[in-house]
């Protein structure tokens, strides 16, 4: 009877011990899982930080390398404080080729709000010989800006008495040029 009692006690003890082991096993398992997740998260963050650093360095190098070209590129666009210079340049060009010009209007088409550029619209009255006017328009299109002639209207001036062409052409020119905001 005593032997049976001892066996029963051992069995109960072993059962309790097993339950305790299972509980502690689950606890440690959960602990390891959480710590591993945390380590994984920290590793990911470190990787991202390293990637960001590498990218930043490469961007810095790229900006340094392209500085000269970027400055050069800036000169090909009209900026706010250079609008007058641009108009003067057009007027000087017209004088060089022998065309009389008169700036009628200057407008800015702002376009979309998130765009970095906008359109500077310039309307001109022009007068001169056919070949000069033609050269003037061609030269405007070849200016080192993002420029285009959107509208051109020309008509020859006739002599009132003889009704023969005077060889002078008069017209209207509308120019669009990209301007940085």
């Amino acid at each position: 009877m005593d032997k049976l009692k001892t066996t029963k006690q051992i069995f109960m003890f072993m059962t309790i011990l097993t339950i305790a082991v299972i509980i502690s096993y689950s606890f440690f398992f959960y602990n390891i899982k959480e710590k591993n997740k945390m380590i994984s998260l920290m590793t990911n963050e470190t990787d991202a930080a390293i990637q960001r650093e590498v990218k930043l360095r490469s961007v810095k190098d790229l900006i340094k390398d392209t500085q000269e070209n970027r400055l050069k590129l800036d000169t090909y666009f009209v900026v706010d404080d250079k609008i007058v210079n641009f108009i003067e340049e057009i007027e000087e060009l017209s004088r060089d080729v022998g065309v009389d010009t008169e700036v009628v209007s200057v407008n800015v088409d702002e376009g979309k709000a998130n765009n970095i550029s906008e359109l500077l619209k310039l309307d001109l009255n022009i007068e001169g010989k056919w070949e000069d006017v033609f050269q003037f328009i061609t030269l405007i299109e070849k200016m080192s800006f993002k420029i285009s002639v959107s509208q051109a209207s020309l008509q020859v001036i006739y002599d009132n008495e003889s009704k023969i062409s005077s060889g002078i052409w008069k017209g209207f020119l509308s120019i669009n040029v990209v301007k940085l905001k």
Binding site: K55, L62, L73, W130, F134, T138, S165
Partner: protein, 111 residues
């Protein structure tokens, strides 16, 4: 009377013993211990397998990982586009200079 009682007791004991044997046969302690032992062995084997699996997975860093989105995208200067653009303007500049110095002779259509 006494004789009858003795016979009854005799058969009663026999019946009791037979019933006890039946119960003992049904709850054979040796079989129960055997079953408990096998159960413990199975539990331990499962625990060892799971532990080994976890150990190796954790050791190789393949378990309990958090998905990462480490793609860092930065909008940078497109060097090719920049050079192409400068090249485009330089060609324009050359054409401008060329046209300025070499005037094209055109016949006035009105004459």
């Amino acid at each position: 009377m006494i004789g009858n009682k003795t016979i009854k007791d005799f058969f009663g004991d026999r019946l009791k013993q037979r019933r006890m044997n039946k119960i003992r046969n049904r709850f054979n302690m040796r079989t129960i211990w055997k079953k408990i032992f096998i159960l413990f062995i199975v539990i331990n084997v499962i625990v060892v397998i799971i532990s080994s699996y976890l150990f190796f997975k954790i050791n190789y860093g393949e378990i309990f990982l958090v998905d990462s989105n480490t793609n860092v995208s930065v909008e940078t200067v497109n060097r090719t586009l920049l050079l192409d653009t400068i090249n485009f303007f330089e060609i324009k500049e050359k054409e401008f200079d060329n046209l300025k110095t070499n005037k094209v002779n055109l016949v006035d259509p009105s004459l």
